[in-house]
């Protein structure tokens, strides 16, 4: 009987620790120090979104050279800065995890979406523009370039939001899941901003 409080105390401590740990794990708040597997959602999202983001950065640089419109140039600046930095985070995690930047599996296999895009003409994943479309953007100017950019970027964001949601649902590394949720929110907000900008230019998303 005298040992009972002792045992109860030890049990309480163990249970609290176990509860806190299982809660943290269930919440996906892995601290990112332990490397995920190469075929995990964490690694797959870092690889694929780095590629997806790169095209948005490129597209934004192109339109900034093709129009003097301040609003479009600022949007393009915002997107290129943000996505270049986020791409750096994703690639940096792969480096820390000592995982390859490429996979022999099809893009988005990690979210059961292999074969979503045919990969032809540079459009490797849903939402991505083809090389032909990128070349066309570089030849247009003024309002035509603005409208085409808004249309391409809207489609790009729609694909991006879908992929980011895949990580929100499947990723286990807390910081990565948080970044993915941030992408979903910010890009959805930008899609509605771009819808307004297209409307002002008498155009539609597609």
């Amino acid at each position: 009987m005298r040992r009972a409080p002792w045992i109860a105390g030890a049990a309480a401590t163990a249970l609290v620790a176990a509860g806190a740990i299982s809660y943290a794990v269930a919440d996906g708040d892995d601290d990112g120090t332990k490397a995920p597997a190469a075929d995990s959602a964490d690694a797959g999202f870092a690889r694929d979104m780095a590629v997806h983001h790169q095209q948005a950065v490129e597209m934004s640089y192109i339109v900034r050279d093709r129009t003097g419109n301040e609003e479009i140039r600022r949007l393009a600046y915002d997107i290129s800065q943000t996505q270049a930095n986020q791409r750096g985070m994703l690639l940096g995690w792969l480096d820390l995890w000592e995982l390859p930047k490429v996979s022999s599996a099809a893009p988005m296999s990690w979210m059961d979406m292999a074969g979503m895009a045919d990969g032809k003409d540079g459009a490797l994943m849903p939402g991505m523009a083809t090389n032909t479309e990128m070349t066309k953007l570089g030849k247009l100017s003024g309002k035509q370039a603005e409208v085409f950019y808004l249309q391409l970027m809207t489609r790009h964001h729609q694909g991006g939001v879908h992929m980011a949601q895949g990580c929100v649902d499947r990723c286990e590394v807390g910081v990565e899941k948080r970044l993915a949720q941030g992408m979903v929110n910010a890009q959805e907000s930008e899609i509605s901003l771009m819808a307004g900008m297209l409307k002002e230019r008498g155009a539609k998303a597609s």
Binding site: M1, L15, G19, D78, Q181, A186, S189, L193
Partner: protein, 225 residues
């Protein structure tokens, strides 16, 4: 007599045995009751601790959640053990042109203007349009604000700190309650002076911190005063 005595002794001894047995039984049931009571109390304490710890962990991880839902004006500040106030509802992130009435001063989040206020260590001497400043918070900036009661020495010292800190900005705000306030997305605190150790702590935790809804976004090429 001997046998009678023996028998009497026997029956006396049997009665004693029965009494002892009875006492032992009572003792055992008392022990059992105590044991049940101890176990029950322990279970209740453990359950309480588990629930408490879970709530604590949940509270600490709340700031990860930034989904753009919730209505304007809903929510309130909850003050943490470190003195930092956290907005308890999700803050919306839409780009809007209409004026937003924020439920806190200075605002720590919500819908905002499409153009962010430059926050690359920018010190402004006139009050800002909060709709631009909120966009800077979305990009991970810490916003230092002060009212007319703040001593000039504190303003100068904080301005020097902000100028050395990318992803921070500073401006006067005469509508705010306290002389010196620090804000980040969903976070706010008051500090007693420029040398209050909580200034450095707030900067360390929230300049491009975990609360940032849009990590990687820029503090340059936005709006300047």
């Amino acid at each position: 007599m001997g046998s009678a005595k023996k028998s009497a002794n026997d029956s006396g001894s049997a009665a004693r045995k029965a009494r002892i047995e009875e006492m032992r039984r009572a003792e055992r049931s008392r022990e059992l009751r105590n044991r049940i009571l101890t176990i029950s109390v322990s279970v209740v304490i453990v359950a309480g601790l588990v629930v408490g710890a879970t709530l604590l962990v949940r509270k600490q991880s709340d700031d990860k959640d930034t989904a753009a839902t919730g209505s304007k004006g809903a929510g309130k500040f909850v003050t943490g053990a470190d003195g930092v106030k956290t907005w308890d509802k999700k803050l919306t992130q839409n780009h809007v042109t209409k004026t937003v009435n924020y439920p806190m001063e200075p605002p720590v989040g919500g819908d905002h203007n499409q153009v962010w206020m430059n926050c690359n260590g920018d010190v402004y001497t006139k009050a800002l349009n909060p709709m631009n400043a909120v966009h800077s918070l979305e990009h991970g900036a810490v916003w230092v604000t002060y009212n007319s009661k703040a001593p000039k020495s504190d303003i100068d010292a904080l301005a020097a700190k902000v100028k050395k800190t990318p992803y921070s900005l500073m401006s006067p705000d005469d509508k705010q309650a306290d002389p010196i306030m620090l804000s980040a997305w969903g976070k706010q605190r008051t500090v007693s002076s420029a040398t209050d150790p909580n200034v450095d702590k707030f900067f360390e935790e929230f300049v491009q911190g975990k609360q940032t809804p849009e990590p990687g976004a820029a503090c340059t090429n936005g709006l300047a005063q």
